[in-house]
């Protein structure tokens, strides 16, 4: 599957989403609710949220500084606990490991809890090509699977559909009666999934925290489908990005305290599944085998960069998406990547190649709101700006796809001219003088100048008043030198 998307493809999908009024309405209302819930919970339940964020930042930074060692400790302890640990250096490896496990057990159905890592490697499509069907059991994931769409959000994959639309999808795809009440919609999904859960053999999940000292994995979820997919099967496969490994239960608890309110505004999730081993001798239930796939997929490349490594602190709470003034206008699909929104802009180019998705870096006004709310204090806006410098050919040059990235000569030239003018008082005053004389001229020809034309598409021509220097000179008491 090609990761490359051109500037034109981006423009097309962005415009399409901007013109989808229903989508805009759905996104805005849900994002608003999520933001408000988060704010209220933090105000009501946390005495010092900022101190907790700082603690979370430090936990993740320390973890990342020791990641290679922690990964080894995790592997050792996990094996001791009876897990099977696999290393996947890229998407292909991970997919093949899962396929071969399925083939070994002669199974052609796998039930999935929510996992963004599985989206990242396009597991469902790969399995389908090999005659295996992957069934999504998370409500949101089920909805989008029925209409064959990728997740629109990393936490809430079907957030772009409202309950009436979901009712229609269930009616059309599941032959269910037309409903729109959340409870009834839940029942339809539950009935449908019960059948799937009846005698499945293989379940798949992601991992929220992999705890090195314990060799255990921790899964956070709200619907119970995660628990079903990981306990009622014979074989449980967990995909875990290497950055999910942390040192201790204490660290996991700190991060969990930050994750849940950031994600949904709740202060605790309905289910916390801490899995320490497969079924042991004499036990009556639980999977007989648990496989953990540690996925790199260019993460170690991110880890090696002195600034970008901080992006690996991400605990996938999604709150940077919820607070992004661009995301709530265009939605996740317009980013043309598994990971949308601010964190998506930071990690997508690094996971999938800067050359493949650099236009997405424009989808940010650098308002810094994401950096302000991120529970582990990732400086998202600064990292987006840094990635723009990679795109401009002025970064540190280590980003995946750096040398193949298309660079705009016109843009480079414009900023050279800008620098030339802005480093000379004389040239700058001449420029101001020209604006003063030709300001009105611009008004007439504004629609022919590309940048100005864009600006004027929804704004009146700015009132230019470039007479500052002469006014200052006339002002009494000012030292004009």
């Amino acid at each position: 599957m090609s990761n490359f998307h051109s500037k034109e493809q981006y423009e097309e999908i962005i415009n399409q989403k901007l013109n989808d009024n229903q989508l805009r309405k759905n996104l805005q209302s849900v994002m608003q609710t999520l933001k408000t819930n988060r704010k209220n919970t933090i105000a009501a339940r946390y005495t010092d949220w900022e101190a907790l964020r700082e603690l979370g930042r430090r936990v993740k930074q320390n973890t990342l500084a020791n990641l290679p060692t922690l990964l080894e400790i995790f592997e050792k302890n996990a094996i001791k606990n009876g897990f099977k640990v696999h290393w996947a250096s890229n998407a292909k490896d991970a997919n093949e490991i899962i396929l071969s496990l399925m083939q070994k057990k002669s199974q052609n159905i796998i039930l999935k809890g929510k996992s963004m890592a599985s989206e990242e490697i396009h597991l469902n499509a790969y399995l389908k090509e090999n005659g295996i069907s992957a069934v999504e059991t998370d409500l949101g994931e089920l909805i989008i699977q029925l209409i064959d769409e990728p997740p629109v959000h990393i936490v809430a994959p079907a957030i772009h559909k409202n309950r009436y639309e979901i009712g229609n999808i269930f009616k059309e795809k599941l032959n269910a009666p037309l409903e729109s009440e959340p409870e009834k919609l839940n029942n339809i999904a539950r009935d449908h999934l019960r059948k799937e859960f009846k005698d499945f053999k293989i379940g798949l999940s992601g991992v929220n925290f992999a705890i090195a000292n314990e060799g255990a994995i921790w899964l956070v979820e709200n619907e119970g489908n995660g628990r079903m997919s990981t306990t009622a099967c014979d074989i449980h496969i967990a995909i875990c990005g290497i950055e999910k490994v942390i040192e201790s239960f204490e660290d996991a608890s700190i991060l969990d305290l930050l994750l849940v309110p950031s994600a949904t505004g709740a202060n605790i999730t309905c289910y916390n599944n801490i899995i320490r081993s497969p079924r042991k001798e004499g036990e009556l239930d639980g999977p007989k085998e648990v496989h953990i796939i540690l996925l790199d997929n260019n993460r170690s490349k991110i880890l090696a960069d002195k600034h970008y490594y901080r992006a690996l602190s991400c605990i996938r709470c999604g709150t940077c998406l919820n607070h992004c003034p661009v995301y709530d206008k265009i939605g996740g699909h317009a980013y043309l990547s598994t990971y949308p929104g601010p964190i998506g802009e930071v990690i997508s180019p690094q996971l999938f190649g800067l050359d493949n998705c650099s236009p997405m870096l424009n989808l940010c006004s650098l308002c810094e709101r994401c950096s302000q709310v991120c529970p582990v204090k990732i400086p998202l806006a600064s990292l987006i700006r840094d990635l723009r410098s990679e795109k401009a050919g002025e970064g540190r040059g280590g980003v995946l796809g750096y040398s193949n990235t298309h660079r705009s000569k016109i843009e480079k030239q414009s900023f050279m001219i800008f620098r030339n003018l802005a480093t000379s008082g004389l040239k700058w005053r001449l420029l101001i003088y020209q604006v003063r004389i030709f300001g009105g001229f611009g008004k007439i020809f504004g629609n022919m100048i590309p940048g100005l034309k864009n600006w004027l598409s929804c704004r009146s021509y700015p009132k230019l008043d470039a007479t500052l220097h002469s006014k200052v000179k006339q002002l009494k008491g000012v030292i004009y030198e």
Binding site: I14, N15, L18, R24, P325, V326, K329, L363, C364, S365, L366, C367, E368, R369, S371, Q372, R385, D386, L387, R388, S389, E390, K391, A392, E394, G395, E411, K412, F415, M416, F418, R419, L421, A422, T423, S424, G425, L426, W428, I432, V435, G451, N454, W455, C458, R459, S460, P462, L464, D465, A466, L468, K471, V472, L475, G477, V478, I479, Y480, E481
Partner: protein
């Protein structure tokens, strides 16, 4: 006390009167203002697009120009943040870092300087009006000067300050962003304006020329009957400085 005044590029190209009012506000407190005629732009356009080398040159031009140990007063939270915070990031690991640091420590946003350093008290002479306020993102989250700007407005007893529901949400300007992503920017400014419209105010005040140009320009095109005004024009009017 002597201070440097940095007008910003938009100040000198489109908001001359605002800059004059800002200077008068300083003079009113007995401050002697130095206006360097070779001043240009803080460098945000190239910085935000990732052209770090060009930006460094622009920054050094400013740093060399404002070389005496006077405070540098900027009538824009956005540009003040660039010169105070972002320059430091830009020159991290650069031989010029300590020079940059000295410069950055002298940068103030005007309302912050008026309130924190000069402890101004304003007497409102205007009639009763309703106004709302738009926070510039950079001023809010990088310079952290918004509380001072709003505190100045709150000193004006005949001004009823009505807060926006989404005061802290970006208006869609973002400098080059509004040109690179005009459609997204348009959706953003329309959201901002709907919020403003719902408040039934006479004025929307902002402390940044960029946001103001964006919001006022779009309100004008949409035929919205609210007046966009720069913070320093507004204060100057209210205290009868103009």
């Amino acid at each position: 006390m002597k201070v440097y005044f940095f007008a910003t590029c938009l100040g000198s190209i489109a908001y001359s009167n605002t800059c004059i009012n800002a200077i008068k506000l300083l003079q009113k407190e007995g401050i002697e203002v130095i206006f360097k005629k070779d001043q240009t732009c803080c460098g945000q356009p190239s910085y935000n697009s990732g052209y770090y080398e060009d930006t460094k040159q622009v920054a050094l031009h400013n740093i060399n120009l404002f070389n005496e140990p006077y405070p540098i007063i900027v009538p824009s939270g956005s540009c003040a943040g660039m010169m105070r915070v972002d320059y430091l990031e830009l020159f991290e690991n650069d031989g010029n870092y300590s020079m940059v640091k000295d410069f950055s420590s002298r940068v103030f946003e005007l309302s912050e300087f008026l309130l924190k350093e000069l402890k101004v008290r304003y007497t409102d002479t205007g009639e009763k009006i309703k106004a709302t306020w738009h926070s510039n993102c950079h001023a809010l989250r990088v310079t952290k000067s918004i509380e001072y700007s709003k505190a100045l407005i709150r000193q004006l007893k005949n001004v009823e300050l009505i807060e926006l529901d989404k005061e802290e949400e970006c208006c869609g300007f973002g400098g080059t962003f509004s040109i690179k992503e005009p459609q997204v920017s348009k959706a953003m400014v329309h959201d901002k304006i709907n919020d403003i419209k719902s408040k039934g105010v006479d004025y929307v005040i902002s402390g940044d020329a960029g946001c103001l140009m964006n919001i006022s320009g779009a309100m004008d095109k949409m035929g919205v009957d609210v007046k966009g005004i720069h913070l320093y024009d507004f204060i100057a009017q209210r205290i009868n400085l103009v």
